[in-house]
Amino acid sequence: MSGRKPRTLVLHGDGVNCEQETAEAFRLVGFEAEIRHLNDLIAERMSLDELSRRYSVLALPGGFSYGDDLTSGKVLALKIRHRLGWNLGAFAERGGLVLGVCNGFQALIRMEVFGKDISITQNAQGKFVDTWIKATPSGTRCAWLRGVGTLELPIRHGEGRVVFAPTRKTELLGKMERQGMTCLRYEGDPNGSEEGLAGLCDPTGRIFGLMPHPEAFVRWTAHPEWTSQPGRASAPGQGLALFENAFKEASHVLG
């Protein structure tokens, strides 16, 4: 298997809408990226084995799958669970990496990748918001965030408030923190997310979901203040670091 370019499967269909720029971000760092329609994967009955064999990374891009009806990411998660039956934890254990951005993160939460006592709901202010935030990684568990400092990225969502089952919150948070799962926090409070959580990873650190959009900041000219430093116009954006980490990791796995 060595020598080939690591491959990313970028999921598409039913209202996903960031598939192009997500695929582009993976390509920029050296991946081969394939945008595949969920219905095609279902039609060809792509098994977890097949997924692991063909792809190093599964990416669930942002968007409005099923229009956010019945809560964000919900129906997409049901479709993946019932029609493909993928166990993402097993994919990660076999060396796969998973990225869920925004609606993809919401779907990962609904698939209970981060546990069944976590959910995500309407922003505290009750509104969709498009704004740039700062988010700081914590711990070393998350394979996507290794060596990454504070990130400036856009958030663009109406449902980004991460919440925990009230009765189990303290216990759960303690456990997740010990496992390094609470890996990305906002500076400030853009949406009421508990503990300022902007992203989570699974205990392996290989499945990572976040509300901010790293694929939207792969060139410096996407930053809302870049014209004050025109000299950097050709520089890469901070979001690219996540994809570079994934490339290193995937290349390492491929040997």
Binding site: K74, V75, K116, T121, W132, T221, P224
Partner: protein, 1049 residues
């Protein structure tokens, strides 16, 4: 089985939807808001499913219940999904005042209204049950639960009507506590009743469902009454032409052959749709006699050049004619398609279209704006061989949000209008994954009757698609007529004819539609895939007029068409043939598919979850034949259908406009000192000027990853001290592998219509062009790509020569400006019936919009790395006014403010007039055709609403900087500080670059005044009459006024 599911947030979590509802109640009825002590908002679902209880309980649990967040109240179905009481009592316990007095308002859709969530619920249940549920039905709604001892049924009814529901599409019920606490509403019989259902009309044979409407022998009065009764919106002359067509022996012979007798309702409806003002633009095609009233008695007229006494067609003379005089090599397709197509580079092209959706938005602001945006998206999908939408723009003109006088019957408060259209564009754009990158908001009393909702979309497409040039639209006989996407219902029947009439209190409900962004997203993804595989030959959208327009228009490409409307998929049974033909149900496109590619096309559609109805075929018959279950129900000659409409003859008389205002006192000094700071602060907070951040941040303006210049630039993003300021235009980078970009901006200035629509149109062009120049657009070379889109929204000019003269003048103003700037018009749309006729307290009222022209400019940016923004960058930078000779107070925001304050106008009262020679010099330098130092500009911002000082304040407030400004001594400080007009910009450059730039400006004839410097103190200091007088205002105050004035909930 039946189920009713109420989904509530657990009391441990805040309920942002309920909070949002309460904020709306506060604005509409503060006195009722004070009586509400607690509120929660529940989602409600009604289900009827052909499955067993055992099968359904786990499925419902999985689909509807988030255990962490929610409780479900289901009667006795799933008691464990609620709290300890197993029902709504659990929720009521969370109210702070106990024992309280509880109420609820339930909201449901009316039958036939699109219910997106209901549709998704069925899909989700199908996924979980692992089988199709074709007989399954699901409806969604909501339940607001409130507590307050002083509430009563009547108060809650007011809340339901004014805040919660739009009664055109929704119904409501107030539930007292007793009903809330009992379980009657979960009873199967009750659920069955509560699921909205379209009543089936007593089915007859299909033949009986086509009505014959004999025209032979009808007199004028009868023809007119028929047109009115059937909502045909056809004039007497048009009705006569229709009658005479059916009289023709060749037509009669042909009809006999087909078994058709008298004209059918299908045929009259098709003619009415095709000939509607909305589709045919009869006013723009009319012959117009134009004259100017010689007795204008001291009135101000702007010298308008070149308006002839007889115009054969305003469209041909001033719109298409203008573009013909500007034959640019990069124009690929203009005026003949859904949108104009322009070359981007050797491989790709872009296209643009801007639509209006005024009438639907007046009735149902949310649905109207939503269908407006997804509708114009389809124009782009159906442009050439199909383009991918890459940005949306939105411009709203509404009444003042603080309007507090009684409203005429059936008019919604501007706050509800704006709230609804904002949300419609949010859902339409965000859910489709298309960034909303540019827009404007205009407030004026005269938009109370009809708001203007402009929705624009830009698209991107390869110049060659499957071996064919992208602008090709070709159909061969035998190609299949395929309707793709949504199904047909009664929604939107008569949309096109209806928007061609004035709005009144009896306007029909069926004209309202709701959009479904997800069905459309699937449709769009599918079509672009099919396009690249070369599976179809031509495509167009189903918008106004439905199949009648889309197939009727495409039929001209092959020379005829035959379709069987019974083959179209419908939302529910019982639609009549004419309804199938003209319904404007959303999310549909019509595609011409070569028969040999049909199987592949159908297979791909099925895999993408997109429905296709194969309706018939294109042919060369010269006719548009419509059948129902194989039996002809209509047959019209294409030539008559498309060319047979009698031409309008209109009169236009210009009376010179309002009298020229006179200055009441000397320009200057003392008053400027006394009132300047206070007026500047007031201006910053004026809704037309104030921050639009509230609106902008609820739109995704960055999806697709192409954003370079955003609607706002932000300093310190993600920190508590984040500051945002406005940008003039958006810049996008549409291709990952290229640093070329697209700039898009708009210009709109209806206030100037009161002065002269000629000037208004020129100002709109100038502003749109200046805005794209600000961010770095090319200008001035033959290959510079700069194109314009015009959107006229007018009060009905048909029988009003003054309004018609206003239209003529605006068209010629537009023409002069576009020619002078060498900017061709590539697309446009007009809406000519923007009047409301209704009743206010028993009296008749008419509210007409001011003549309003929106200009949208799109331009290429050679290298996005050299894009500019409007914010001042650094203390110590030199501050310049570029242009600046063409500013005036009449028609300015200051003049309007003074008028509202009833204070005498100060300053020299002379309107700013354009000088296109000067404009070309300035713009050619900015656009890179002259000189080489443009890259040294650190910021550039146009001087528009509010004038120079407002522009400077906007540049300073985004970065916590200030400015020290000295107004030139030889100029009237009022006109310079607050005047609006043409060709002017505020620029900053570093002090060390200033001499190089000044030399270049001098060399290229760019007027430039050194105003002063950017400072590090948050203060705007203004000096005039050199050294003699000055005042200053803290930037923080200006920023606060700007932000506060622009926050609307």
């Amino acid at each position: 089985m039946f189920a009713r599911i109420e989904v509530a947030m657990r009391p441990e979590f805040s309920d942002p939807s309920a909070a949002g509802f309460l904020r709306k109640v506060e604005l509409a009825h503060p006195e009722i808001r004070r009586k509400i002590r607690w509120a929660r908002l529940l989602e409600v679902y009604w289900l009827e499913l052909p499955a067993s209880r055992e099968e359904l309980i786990p499925a419902i649990t999985e689909v509807f219940w988030d255990r962490v967040l929610q409780w479900l109240f289901t009667g006795n179905l799933i008691p464990k999904a609620a709290g300890k009481h197993g029902g709504i009592a659990d929720l009521l316990e969370g109210a702070p005042n106990r024992p309280g007095k509880f109420w609820a308002i339930e909201r449901r859709f009316r039958p036939g209204v699109t219910d997106n969530v209901g549709r998704t619920a069925i899909e989700a249940l199908e996924i979980v049950c692992g089988k199709a549920l074709p007989e399954g039905r699901a409806a969604s709604g909501s339940l607001v639960v409130l507590e307050g001892v002083e509430l009563d049924e009547e108060l809650l009814a007011r809340v339901a009507r004014d805040v919660l529901c739009n009664e055109l599409i929704e119904t409501w019920t107030v539930l007292p506590e007793s009903e809330l606490k009992n379980n009657d509403r979960f009873h199967p019989e009750r659920i069955r009743r509560d699921i909205p259902r379209v009543k089936r009309e007593s089915a007859g044979t299909s033949g009986a469902r086509v009505e014959e409407l004999p025209l032979e022998g009808l007199g004028d009065a009868e023809l007119e009454s028929l047109s009115q009764r059937r909502l045909l919106a056809l004039s007497l002359a048009e009705m006569r032409a229709v009658r005479d067509y059916f009289r023709r022996p060749d037509v009669q012979a042909q009809r006999r052959e087909l078994g058709l007798g008298a004209p059918t309702d299908v045929e009259l409806e098709v003619i009415a749709q095709t000939w509607s003002e909305h589709c045919k633009h009869k006013i723009f095609g009319a012959a117009v006699d134009y004259s100017e009233d010689s007795n204008t008695g001291g009135k101000a007229g702007i010298p308008a050049q070149g308006i002839p006494a007889r115009v054969e067609s305003l469209f041909k003379a001033t719109i298409a004619g203008t573009t013909q005089e500007l034959p640019k090599p990069w124009l690929l397709s203009v005026f003949k398609d859904n949108a104009g197509i322009v070359a981007f580079d050797a491989e790709d092209a872009f296209c643009i279209k801007v639509e209006t959706h005024n009438t639907p938005s007046a009735l149902d602001p949310y649905g109207g704006a939503l269908t407006g945006i997804v509708g114009v998206n389809r124009d782009i999908l159906g442009c050439g061989l199909g383009a991918r939408p890459i940005f949306n723009t939105d411009v709203f003109c509404v009444g003042p949000l603080d309007h507090s006088r009684p409203l005429p019957e059936r008019i919604l408060h501007p706050r509800r209008i704006l709230g609804g259209i904002r949300q419609g564009v949010e859902h339409g754009g965000n859910k489709s994954g298309i960034p909303t990158v540019n827009g404007a908001l205009v407030f004026d009393e005269r938009y109370l009757g009809k708001p203007l909702v402009y929705c624009g979309t830009g698209g991107f497409l390869p110049r060659t698609i499957a071996g064919v040039p992208c602008e090709t639209k070709e159909i061969r006989p035998g190609d299949r007529i395929c309707m793709v996407g949504g199904r047909i219902g009664k929604d939107g029947i008569h949309g096109a004819t209806f928007s061609s009439l004035a709005l009144d209190q009896d306007s029909p409900v069926s004209a309202v539609q709701l959009g479904d962004p997800i069905t459309q997203k699937r449709l769009a993804d599918f079509l672009l895939e099919a396009r690249d595989l070369g599976l179809y030959r031509a495509v167009t959208d189903n918008g106004a007029g439905g199949l009648s327009s889309s197939v009727g228009e495409l039929a001209t490409l092959s020379g005829g068409a035959r379709m069987d409307v019974a083959r179209a998929r419908t939302k529910y049974p019982g639609l009549k043939p004419y309804e199938l033909t003209v319904s404007e149900s959303q999310e549909r496109m019509t595609v011409a598919v070569p028969p040999e590619r049909l199987p592949v096309f159908l297979a791909l559609a099925e895999r993408r979850g997109v429905e296709v109805s194969d309706l018939g075929e294109f042919n060369r018959s010269g006719r548009f034949d419509i059948e129902y279950e194989g039996k002809p129900v209509g047959s019209l000659q294409l030539e008559f259908l498309h060319e047979g409409v009698p031409r309008l003859e209109l009169k236009a008389v210009w009376d010179g406009g309002p009298p020229e205002p006179k200055a009441a006192h000397d320009a200057g000094g003392a008053i400027f000192e006394a009132r300047g700071p206070e007026l500047l602060l007031s201006l910053m907070g004026r809704p037309n000027i104030a921050s639009k951040e509230w609106l902008i941040r609820q739109y995704d303006h960055e999806v697709q990853g192409t954003s370079v210049v955003k609607p706002l630039h932000t300093v310190g993003a993600g920190t508590p001290s984040a500051m945002s300021g406005p940008n003039d235009a958006a810049v996008l980078k549409p291709k990952p592998g290229s640093d070329a970009g697209i700039a898009v901006a708009c210009g709109i200035n209806p206030k100037l219509s009161d002065l002269d629509p000629y000037l208004m149109a020129q100002a709109a062009v100038d502003e749109a062009v200046r805005n794209v120049l600000c961010v770095g657009a090319e200008f001035g070379n033959e290959e510079s790509v700069l194109a314009l889109v015009d959107n006229f929204c007018w009060p009905d000019p048909v029988s009003d020569p003054a309004k018609m003269a206003a239209l003529v003048r605006a068209c010629y103003g537009l023409r002069e400006a576009a020619l002078a700037l060498s900017a061709p018009l590539v697309s446009g749309k007009d809406s000519m019936k923007n009047d409301f006729r209704g009743k206010l307290g028993g009296d008749s009222v008419v509210i007409s919009v001011p003549p309003t022209l929106l200009m949208t400019a799109v331009a290429r940016v050679s290298d996005i790395r050299r894009s500019r923004t409007a914010d001042f960058k650094k203390a110590g930078d030199a501050l310049y006014l570029l242009g600046g000779n063409r500013l005036g107070l009449p028609g300015s925001e200051l003049a309007q403010l003074e008028h509202e304050l009833h204070s005498t106008e100060a300053g020299v009262v002379r309107p700013g007039l354009p000088d296109w020679q000067e404009a070309r010099r300035i713009y050619s330098w900015l656009g890179g055709a002259q000189g080489k130092e443009q890259g040294k500009l650190r910021s550039l911002h146009d001087v528009s609403e509010g004038g120079l000082l407002v522009a400077i304040a906007e540049g300073a407030l985004a970065r916590g900087l200030g400015a020290k400004v000295t107004l030139p001594a030889d100029r009237d400080p009022w006109a310079l500080a607050f005047g609006e007009g043409f060709h002017s910009f505020v620029a900053t450059v570093s002090e060390e670059d200033s001499s190089a730039l000044e030399a270049e400006w001098k060399a290229f004839g760019v007027p430039a005044f050194r105003l002063g410097s950017v400072t590090g103190f948050e203060k705007l200091e203004v000096t005039w009459e050199p050294g003699a007088r000055s005042w200053n205002v803290p930037i923080k105050q200006l920023r606060l006024a700007w932000q506060k004035g622009g926050y609307w909930e």
